[in-house]
Symmetry: C2
Subunit: 325 residues, 2 copies
Amino acid sequence: MTASHDVPFRLVIHGGAGAIKQSRLSAEREAAYRQVLTQSLSAGYDVLKIGGSCIDAVTAAIVVMEDSPLFNAGKGSVFSREGQNELEASIMEGSTRLAGAVAGVTTVRNPIRAAHAVMTKSTHTMLIGPGAEIFAAEQGLEIVDPEYFHTSYRWEQLQKALAKKQVLRDHDIDSNRPFTNNDKKHGTVGAVALDRHGNLAAGTSTGGLTNKRRGRVGDSSIIGAGTYADNRSVAVSATGTGEMFIRTAAAYQTAAQIMLLQKPIHEAADTTLKEISSIGGDGGLIVLNVKGDYAMRFNTSGMYQGTIGHNGIAWTGIFHDESEI
Amino acid sequence: MTASHDVPFRLVIHGGAGAIKQSRLSAEREAAYRQVLTQSLSAGYDVLKIGGSCIDAVTAAIVVMEDSPLFNAGKGSVFSREGQNELEASIMEGSTRLAGAVAGVTTVRNPIRAAHAVMTKSTHTMLIGPGAEIFAAEQGLEIVDPEYFHTSYRWEQLQKALAKKQVLRDHDIDSNRPFTNNDKKHGTVGAVALDRHGNLAAGTSTGGLTNKRRGRVGDSSIIGAGTYADNRSVAVSATGTGEMFIRTAAAYQTAAQIMLLQKPIHEAADTTLKEISSIGGDGGLIVLNVKGDYAMRFNTSGMYQGTIGHNGIAWTGIFHDESEI
């Protein structure tokens, strides 16, 4: 398919779903989040506009959020019980259905780039731990000292969680609130893109859960759970209570409902979220098809989200009353 | 639901699908495989007969195959490029849809037990590497020296693969044949069970691929890819070219076709295998529903398989002309 300037393209991103309370989000902090979301959209747009691939657009958008300390991915990732940052990411392309994922990485500056390299430069789909880090280094990706990911904000979150013996999901913008088991703050960043060639891609990246057990892997590096892309259906990226997204194969389930039942995409996403809710979880999904139809659905109070199409106008949102669908 | 002696129960197992050639399988070797398959069925049957849970039956059946050096799981696992045994396993229960998985484990004698412990004794769904091994030890599981898994047979497979610079799938019963990229020999073991309480469970365990990169994870520890269980549809365990099973979310895809389209189970499995084949992979699936209907489907020349129901008569098979469906 020849790239045409009339062919629509789109990028949809999320910076995590969670218990984000508008009343407690200071104007400055909200502006800071929206700024990074806009930068992320801009980075992906720059790729798509000139006919670049959906995979490169997803990677570019996610890298911006990984590099920002505001999101629970890359720099600014949450800490495990042992005070480590253990990162994970996955990426998938919709025409070939090639995919790549890494988990348990501690020195790769941009896990999404490592996932991309696994997909395109190896014969495997998923690499974990030291094996993943060695591969990333072999591929010339930027390797950092583990301290790079550390932010005092996340370190304090860990200390609070340890004191209360809780595992926390992230997106704490209510830093003065006591943590409870009902606090559902989910970090994780993701993107789905449709390029001028008519191909879809999806990607997701996270630092996981505050106070998680060492070695805990969530949905963000599991193809079919946190990430899926298939030109015949949709590209999906998820954020939420990882374990429940794995157990419901959330990303694939959303795509399957669309492919097998031809459900409208927002309905498929809502059905998936409803099932996740029925087993005690919550979060959000961004979904995009080859016609450029998209949905940003979440059953938490908020989800950092954004989208940009070929008209170049970026839209960002956080709360339900802003969501376009 | 009260356990009733009239309620059917069933166990279906596989010991891997691959390029198993009847003409090259000595009578002694074939008998040895069938014997372990029968022991595995017997172990699971003993659990189900007295009203034990599907999860315990799946675990018992898989432990027998992990403990046998004949299968690429637990003892007898294949070696990575660096000469290490890196094991993975996953398990899932169909009424709660709780699941557990481990990957990158090197000292846990029975990875399926570790996956079971993750499911029932942690708040997580997947643990990898040292974190998984520490957890397994904390749970009192048997920890062994990494040398425990070593068999000269698998070590020789690695040496041949290194000499030819190939990554191999397993089940080499043609030890005199030169290895080629077209040799598709898949190890991995798995089981699906229906207990007297009407619940389904699925489990899978493997050593992965001969000469795999360090840290490579295949479908056997990925919920939705190698393992899935949902009372509303089916329990599934897969064996094959792991990367393609991940990319097609094979286990979940099989269940989704049944749940969303009410396809007969063998048809759903065949459709999944056809998609896997279309992206260059192959292997097999075992599938079981709450009525006790089951299927053992594979698009390789053979798949070590077996089943037993409440009449206590074990059936084992390897080749297509034996398969009951």
